[in-house]
């Protein structure tokens, strides 16, 4: 055990270098910075929206319209200008993104129940996700105007009637049903929330697998390149311990890297999706439908992730033996990337259950598909599928470790080489 620990410490020291720590800290700081900005932008977007209004009509009806907008979560800034061009110029230089121009004769036309054009000017200041909300704001303004005006007309024409009931005689009550659980709420909103929350898991998994695999392959390749492997293989420590120390060190380094990325990425994502979570009733509906990951679900997900990482490490160990040097190690990471990307995109865009049987078998044969599917299987109470995935990965890991240990205990650790475009030669 002492020898193993000595080897493990050496492997960790080789992998967790100052360069890695600095890059992780910088990445964390970058994610934090971006997350803080997006969060403040999202909060601003969710708050009272500022709009500019240039009222050329100055009638009691246009005054009512402005008052109505103020009651509908808009902060109205009245523009005093000589003409529309000057009003546009003034609004453009202010903090508002939308200018509403109420034309002369607006009140008169509305009182005659005639259609009247109001002009809206949207100032697109950037093309980011947050910037795109401006177009949504414009739609909200027009809808609000129509609401205010139609309410006023209905109140005037049918005194005592509720304008909302007249305009929307049919009301819907939305329910979401998942297995045995049911809750009242918008399916689109909940689906958006769950998707935004579970999106984090595949991204983290992808990072861990790629990081850890790259570390194992590089560690073995570096031993070969620096000509230290032969010496290491002749010291009195079992080959299985050598393989295990490399895998464990890479796993720890991969987990550390992924944990730091996860924290940073979570901060970044909460900035983008925070408004969905804070939408009225979302958290209660999520709880009621069991769509929040509780402690048991997190443990199950963690076990699934853990076995996926172990499989990746074992595969990478076998691939690492094929590397001649650090450069060839970089190309050997590609099969691992493909094996991660295939289930990632399939689970992102389609339902695995809807695939044809051969494709489904192929996807499920990839060990990394199982943790990708684990979240939705947990949400849908398909615990059997989650346990099957874990069992499959455990068996596959055992097989891969046996293969890796056999390779390390044989000549192959020194003689196996992947030579692109060259005939395999044996050197003696």
């Amino acid at each position: 055990m002492k020898k193993f620990m000595t080897l493990l410490v050496k492997e960790i020291r080789e992998l967790i270098t100052k360069q890695l720590v600095v890059s992780l800290v910088l990445m964390m700081a970058l994610f934090y910075f971006i997350g803080t900005i997006t969060r403040s932008e999202a909060q601003r977007a969710a708050g009272k929206q500022k709009i500019s209004v240039y009222d050329l009509d100055r009638s009691p009806l246009s005054g009512q319209l402005v008052g109505g907008l103020e009651t509908m979560n808009f902060q109205v800034a009245k523009v005093q200008a000589a003409d529309t061009a000057a009003a546009v110029s003034e609004a453009k230089n202010s903090e508002t993104n939308v200018l509403l121009v109420i034309p002369q004769g607006f009140g008169d036309a509305v009182s005659r129940s005639a259609s009247m054009n109001v002009e809206t000017y949207t100032f697109l200041r950037n093309f980011s996700v947050m910037g795109a909300r401006t177009s949504g704001l414009l739609r909200a303004v027009v809808s609000a105007i129509n609401n205010v005006l139609s309410d006023n007309v209905l109140k005037e024409k049918i005194p005592g009637a509720d304008p909302q009931s007249l305009k929307n005689p049919i009301k819907t009550k939305d329910f979401i049903v998942i297995k045995s659980r049911m809750a009242e709420g918008s399916a689109a909103l909940i689906a958006g929330f769950v998707s935004s929350q579970s999106m984090l898991i595949p991204v983290i998994l992808m990072m861990i697998i790629i990081y850890s695999s790259q570390m194992v392959i590089s560690a073995i390749a570096m031993e070969k390149q620096n000509k230290t492997l032969e010496t290491l293989l002749t010291v009195p420590i079992s080959r299985a311990s050598i393989v295990a120390a490399k895998m464990l060190a890479a796993g720890l380094a991969g987990l550390l890297s992924a944990a730091i990325y996860m924290l940073g990425f979570r901060n970044y994502m909460s900035g983008l999706t925070g408004d969905i979570a804070s939408a009225p009733g979302v958290s209660q509906v999520v709880q009621k439908l069991g769509l929040a990951l509780d402690a048991k679900a997190l443990v199950l997900l963690g076990v699934s992730l853990f076995f996926a990482i172990l499989c990746a490490l074992a595969m990478a160990t076998i691939l690492g033996v094929l590397a001649e040097d650090f450069r060839s190690a970089q190309s050997l990471i590609m099969p691992m990337v493909f094996l991660v990307m295939i289930p990632y995109f399939i689970t992102l865009f389609t339902d695995v259950k809807s695939l044809s049987l051969p494709v489904k078998v192929l996807v499920l044969a990839i060990p990394f598909s199982h943790p990708f599917l684990a979240t939705q299987n947990i949400f849908l109470e398909n615990y059997g599928a989650v346990w099957f995935g874990i069992l499959y990965m455990a068996v596959l890991f055992t097989v891969l470790v046996v293969i890796a240990a056999r390779i390390f205990s044989s000549d192959k650790v020194l003689t196996m080489k992947l030579r692109w475009g060259k005939k395999k030669k044996t050197v003696f």
Binding site: K3, E14, V235, P236, S238, S410, D411, L414, T426
Partner: protein, 240 residues
């Protein structure tokens, strides 16, 4: 002289290719035994087999009473191997590298320190041992690796081209060190292209070509047999 290593009928095949075709030799206690031959003769393959890196296709290799096929771990506890193109971990300091390697052979911290102290003397690197291996010259790395190979006083030191890449002064120092350790009872199995080195170091040599031992004996007896002035001529005559 007791036998430390006994090789009988050793063969090594890579698929269809037979790199070693059935060789026999012994290395006695405190003896320096050298394999000499051209490139591709099977010297390094033989050394790698004895060092437990490659498997035996046929024949037996015994270290004391232990058979390589069944007890490779017993071999590893009693041998040390210096490959021709060896390196050390560049991120480790010289002394840390020695401590790291010593920890695999020592049962106690005191024993480990004893190995490191001996290695420090062998290297002669002094304060440079506090620097990272990545800053060392090729000669310094070679001395560090030789010290690593000898510090545990193995029963058998397997040295492949021990002075490879060293200048004249460093080569002389390394040869003296090997000679000194052999006098203290360490058996040495080495290979080299440098016939002067072989003649200076070896008690016995084996001439190997195309996977077969052509002849063996003390440098003196071989020179007498082939009526040659030096081992280079012996080697040329044996090849004919």
């Amino acid at each position: 002289m007791s036998i430390v290593l006994k090789v009988e009928g050793l063969k090594k095949r890579y698929g269809q290719l037979e790199a070693v075709k059935g060789i026999d030799f012994e290395v006695g206690h405190g003896e320096i035994f050298a394999l000499i031959g051209p490139n591709g003769a099977g010297k390094t393959t033989t050394l790698r087999i004895v060092a437990t890196l490659l498997s035996v296709s046929d024949g037996t290799v015994r270290l004391f009473e232990y058979d390589l096929k069944t007890n490779p771990e017993k071999f590893r506890e009693r041998i040390s191997y210096l490959p021709e193109e060896a390196g050390a971990y560049r991120n480790l300091k010289g002394r840390d590298y020695l401590k790291f390697m010593a920890s695999f052979y020592a049962d106690t911290p005191a024993k480990s320190q004893e190995f490191v102290t001996l290695a420090e003397q062998i290297t002669g690197l002094g304060p440079r041992l506090a620097d990272k291996v990545g800053t060392y010259s090729k000669g310094m790395v070679r001395k560090l690796l030789l010290a690593r190979a000898l510090m545990t006083r193995p029963a058998l030191a397997i040295l492949d081209e021990p002075t490879s890449g060293l200048d004249v002064i460093n080569s002389l120092e390394v040869r003296e060190i090997i000679k000194r350790f052999a006098r203290e009872g360490i058996s040495v199995l080495l290979s080299s292209h440098n016939m002067l080195e072989i003649e200076f170091l070896s008690d016995r040599v084996a001439l190997i070509d195309k996977g077969l031992i052509l002849d063996s004996g003390t440098p003196k007896s071989l020179k007498e047999k082939y009526q040659a002035e030096n081992l280079e001529t012996v080697f040329r005559s044996a090849l004919r």
